[in-house]
């Protein structure tokens, strides 16, 4: 009844937020496409349509192809590690025990601390000269003092390092999401399975994990988005180096578009994020819709 008396109130209360987000997300999103088919550079004011030339030159660049491959490697490798680690960790954290809050806090730190700050901490731990990891390895006689691993200086090791540091950053986030899922499963269901004679792993894989699937999907979707679109860990640890071997799409877009002043090509590179993001958004809509129905 009241709704009909002030039908304009809802839209009026909603509009400012929508306009704000449209202006600063929607407009630049459209601009990104517009730039990518033009010749915009920092400092230049003109705009000429150049069709797909930027995409063509991007696709021909070996650095770009490497970055594209790295983006997928970076995302898939870290998310596999995160999923396994987070599930194991969530399982050990799900029941109440003394000290649980302290453990949860310690485990959460990598996620809540600013990621650029955590990464610089790792840069010190992986330092070429004073790395504490290398010190331990030398002490254990696993490596020779004059032949220590250059964690950030050698392409393969550098890629492994950025993947592990990113895993370190995202793992807590997935853990707490999965923890919410594990604690929501009614205790009597796995207990009933156990009474029926199913062992621990049988119960886990045939009863509880299937119940967990929707929440695992949510954790995975967020994890993929946060990883595929992030450049912070890589920017801090390696700047995409050595020789652009750890470059991913977002970092390459930054180096090309912002530091290299080639806005058009930078925009073209970042647009390669869109297909995967669209798929993720679609999957998320589906899972939100399912939650809405049930």
């Amino acid at each position: 009844m009241n709704r009909s008396r002030q039908p304009w109130l809802g839209p009026v209360m909603l509009l400012p937020a929508i306009l704000y987000v449209l202006a600063l997300v929607g407009v630049p999103f459209v601009l990104a496409f517009f730039y990518a088919v033009g010749d915009v550079k920092v400092g230049s004011t003109g705009y000429h349509f150049v069709g797909l030339r930027n995409f063509q030159s991007v696709l021909e660049s070996p650095t770009f192809r490497r970055a594209l491959r790295n983006s997928f490697l970076f995302t898939i490798a870290s998310q596999v590690l995160v999923l396994v680690g987070a599930n194991v960790l969530a399982l050990t954290l799900k029941d109440a025990f003394r000290g649980r809050r302290l453990f949860r806090f310690l485990i959460l730190l990598p996620w809540v601390a600013p990621v650029s700050i955590g990464s610089i901490g790792w840069k010190w731990i992986l330092d070429s000269l004073y790395s504490v990891i290398n010190w331990v390895l030398v002490r254990l006689h696993l490596v020779k003092p004059l032949d220590v691993p250059m964690w950030l200086g050698q392409p393969t090791l550098a890629m492994i390092s950025v993947i592990l540091v990113h895993t370190w950053h995202v793992l807590p986030f997935s853990t707490v999401i999965l923890l919410a899922g594990w604690t929501a499963i009614p205790r009597d269901i796995p207990e009933a399975a156990a009474v029926d004679g199913a062992g621990y792993f049988r119960t886990l894989f045939q009863v509880t994990l299937p119940m967990m699937l929707p929440i695992i999907n949510v954790a995975l979707l967020f994890g993929v988005i946060f990883t595929f679109t992030d450049m912070t860990v890589i920017y801090i640890l390696t700047r995409g180096g050595p020789y652009d071997t750890t470059q991913v799409l977002p970092s390459l877009a930054f180096f090309t578009g912002i530091l290299g002043s080639d806005l058009a090509e930078g925009a073209a590179i970042s647009l390669f994020l869109v297909p995967l993001l669209s798929v993720a958004a679609w999957l998320m809509l589906r899972s939100a819709h399912r939650a809405e129905v049930t």
Partner: protein, 283 residues
């Protein structure tokens, strides 16, 4: 196979503690390392013969003195706080009414719209920073803290609206109905009744927004080019390094100081953020 019940219990408990301790050590180690480095004198830090886990020389406050006395750290702290407060205010001013409208006034399509707004949170800074750098420049905001004050709400509003919408839905609508029978308008009921009883939801949004402001890296790096206008998140990792020289002691001190407080705060509100992320599919 022939393990007794008690054996199984002891085994499973041992495995759990081993997993927990292993993960905690691996995940918290960098922070422990920041702590050690903060108080270690430079000759001790940079001597390869010393055991890095122990103090071969007396602990020192020199790194902290350097950090607070001779770097822009406090300035960055002030910048971050100022930006944080302003972004929180903008976010609340826009997200509170929007969330209320979605929860109460827009019916079925409000829900869809809510999800749509939430999804914009998924469009990453690394897709928008190039065009935004031009938008910021054309507004004359480049290299000022105002650039991020204006841009950050574009990602804090969507998630905050989503969180608050869930919160408002949990308040019984009879509350406002009764107030409106007593002569208040719908908006008055919202402003005078619903907002005051929503303090815990609002607090969640405040903390969430504030942590996002301290954690953001890409936009601050892109829009702000002078060291003195930076935030902690970019200032510490980028501008505490002078030339090619890393002052690891004060650098790690800065890392420790800027991550622990936000960690404590976030931890307190964790469960509510998670409820937002899982679309309430876990109750």
């Amino acid at each position: 196979m022939a393990l007794s019940r008690r054996g199984v219990r002891i085994l499973s408990r041992t495995v759990r503690w081993a997993v927990l301790v292993g993960f905690s050590v691996a995940l918290a180690f960098p922070f422990y390392w920041m702590l050690i480095t903060t108080f270690k004198s430079s000759p001790d830090l940079y001597n390869l013969k010393h055991n890095p886990f122990l103090f071969a020389e007396r602990p020192t406050l020199e790194h902290l003195r350097l950090l607070f006395g001779e770097t822009l750290f406090l300035r960055w702290f002030a910048n971050t706080t100022l930006a944080g407060v302003l972004v929180v205010l903008i976010t609340l001013a826009l997200a509170l009414p929007a969330a209320y409208a979605l929860a109460r006034l827009t019916g079925r399509w409000g829900e869809r719209l809510g999800i749509g707004i939430f999804l914009t949170y998924l469009i990453p800074p690394t897709l928008l920073f190039i065009p935004l750098s031009r938008v910021v420049a054309s507004l004359g905001l480049q290299d000022t803290i105002w650039a991020i004050v204006v841009v950050y709400p574009s990602f804090t509003i969507p998630f905050s609206t989503w969180l608050l919408m869930g919160f408002f839905k949990s308040i019984p609508p009879e509350l406002e109905d009764a107030a409106m029978v007593d002569g208040l308008t719908r908006f008055q009921a919202f402003a005078r009744l619903v907002v005051p009883i929503s303090t815990s939801g609002i607090l969640t949004v405040v903390i969430f927004t504030f942590t996002l402001v301290t954690q953001e890296f890409v936009y601050a790096l892109t829009f702000i080019s002078s060291a003195s206008h930076q935030t902690v998140g970019v200032g510490v990792p980028i501008y505490l390094v002078r030339g090619d020289v890393y002052y690891w002691g004060s650098l790690m001190a800065a890392c420790l100081i800027s991550s622990l407080p936000i960690g404590f705060l976030y931890n307190l509100f964790l469960d509510r953020f998670i409820a937002g992320f899982t679309f309430g599919s876990v109750k």
